[in-house]
Symmetry: C2
Subunit: 353 residues, 2 copies
């Protein structure tokens, strides 16, 4: 039985399929709840949420499902850059603000991740699973989660990162292959040195850690899930496949861009956030590729926030962040539950029920 | 039966496992013959060989096996650059020539691929399979191969390239995932835009072509082979795994570098040949990364040939090309036939005999 293993027992889910926590608009309470109701693990990408929005969203998910679900948080620190560099990073974006008829005021750059407070909310709300991206949370946070019976999942892009996640006592690790859409989770070394494909990354990791390994990156259907199982993964995490579902909160234009994209249309870019991420190439990624300096994350993320938001309002996909994995030819506009059952049927056919 | 399909019937081999044609020293007649004798398809990487060496090598393989084997050739044209640029590309390498106590004479840059003549040799010698990299051969060549019952296999990095290979009537296509070691086979568009991971590339290709799809890139053991099978591939092509076998002609230092490497130690570099290739980072790749200009392939290949060769003689792995896929943690020093049987056993266990 491909769907009975340490992972499904540990999480008390029927199928070892996680809907990736795509931070921002995509992971609505409806999407996460539909996946959990179907027997997988729905996830809320709450990395950019305020503490209040974390609580509200969790409560909404709980109204829609009684099955386990999870929340993803970012482990990230504030960055400092010189006033000169900040001005340079701000000024280079002026043509885009003008094109979108925006004012040219410096946006609010204050950044407080409120990680501890968000974790408190998850504990208060009895959220069963918390996953982390961009680093390893403090032992204080991990101990609190453990004391409250909340499973902690890390995200890694290399075997060394997976070992570090196991060493601090986390319960499972998502291995993010180079095919994955959205931000690279790399926290040891450089993101560009850690672009390892899923088919190579998973078996090498399985040989070096004993916690369950969750495969992600380029997995779009039952074929990808069955392949991940053969590689030794105990579960899969799928983002792009769920991004084009009806329940996903991604703007319609963004969904259409993924449905229209080919496997070679994406690029790793720091254009939107200052941190490497995979998305569909557009005018903004091409323009920023020519710049000698991009402020670091999360400063660049704050600097482009208004532009991305206004571009979405104005249906201008050339200036929006269009995160996408490399499996985008396999995307379909479909209900989340229908997609989930389709995937399960395909895996059953390939691996036997 | 995972090993009975269009591909094994077409090639008349017992197992759908191809030993990748690693051009240069690795694919000795002994290596290719051992793989063919074990029931797979041994390949000779003859892209850099003279016509005479192609004939000699083929004859040696035929003395060692009566089973099918193949030869890989390059589809590549001569390049012209200005005398200024050539001088710049030559001069930047002077410190390395000095370090290796080499003279500073411009090497012979004449380049004639002799593709037609090499194909004639394969026909004369009744070689059953010919694969091509870096492009699609002329219809004249393809017709000659077909008239003589020689199977033609193309190499692609995107779905569009696979469709182009099918459209000209070739018999199968190797899909090279981004994990693969050695040169990128990209011939439409840019290599850097075509870095698609195997787990994403294979199912998308299978949906768009009807010729057998051969998965390559990051496949090192039975787990990788079984995963490729789940993705819809009819065969796999494995390079790095066979590079460290006893029969491989790769220098010992190169084999040791792969055995010592981790999945995040490789880089895509134009340093050695002017064409993107994946290899282990060393002083030479780091130095060339800082250069604003690298002559195109095959000029840069000729310019660095002496340096690579002399570095190997002097046991200096910092100046050698150390092509490696991203699955290098799974490499072992082992006999080719023992490795082959180990892989078959693993696939049998995972998929059932």
């Amino acid at each position: 039985m491909w769907n009975t293993n340490d992972f499904t027992r540990m999480l008390n889910v029927e199928y070892p399929i996680i809907q990736a926590p795509m931070a921002g608009k995509p992971t609505t309470p409806e999407l996460a709840a539909e996946v959990s109701n179907a027997g997988g693990l729905g996830m809320v990408g709450a990395g950019y949420f305020s503490v209040d929005k974390v609580r509200d969203t969790v409560r909404q998910v709980k109204e829609l499902t009684s099955f386990p679900f999870g929340v993803n948080l970012f482990v990230v620190d504030e960055q400092d850059i010189s006033a000169d560099k900040l001005e340079k990073g701000f000024n280079v974006l002026e043509p885009f603000r003008n094109e979108l008829n925006m004012n040219n005021e410096m946006p609010d750059l204050r950044f407080d991740n409120h990680l501890e407070t968000k974790v408190e909310v998850l504990i208060e709300e009895n959220v069963p699973v918390c996953s982390f991206t961009f680093g390893i949370p403090s032992s204080e946070i991990l101990n609190k989660l453990k004391d409250n019976g909340i499973l902690a999942i890390g995200t890694a892009t290399t075997v060394e990162e997976a070992k570090a996640i196991e060493d601090v006592g986390m319960d499972a690790v998502v291995m993010q292959g180079s095919e994955a859409g959205g931000h690279r989770a790399t926290f040891l070394g450089e993101a560009n040195d850690s672009m390892v494909g899923t088919i190579a990354l998973v078996p090498q990791t399985v040989d070096h850690v004993s916690i369950p390994v969750i495969a992600s990156g380029g997995i779009m259907d039952g074929r990808g899930c069955a392949a991940a199982y053969m590689l030794g993964a105990q579960a899969v995490q799928m983002g792009t496949a769920f991004l084009t579902t009806y329940e996903s909160g991604a703007p319609h234009l963004y969904k259409e861009a993924i449905l229209d994209a080919n496997e070679d249309h994406t690029v790793i870019t720091k254009a939107f956030s200052g941190k490497e991420a995979r998305g569909i190439q557009n005018r903004f990624t091409r323009f920023m590729k020519e710049q000698s300096f991009i402020p670091p994350y999360p400063i660049q993320n704050s600097l482009t926030k208004g532009i991305r938001s206004e571009a979405a309002n104005q249906d201008n996909k050339e200036l929006m962040s269009l995160w996408s994995g490399q499996g985008n030819r396999l995307s379909t506009m479909i209900g989340a539950r229908e997609l989930f059952y389709k995937i399960v049927r395909e895996v059953d056919q390939l691996l036997g029920e």
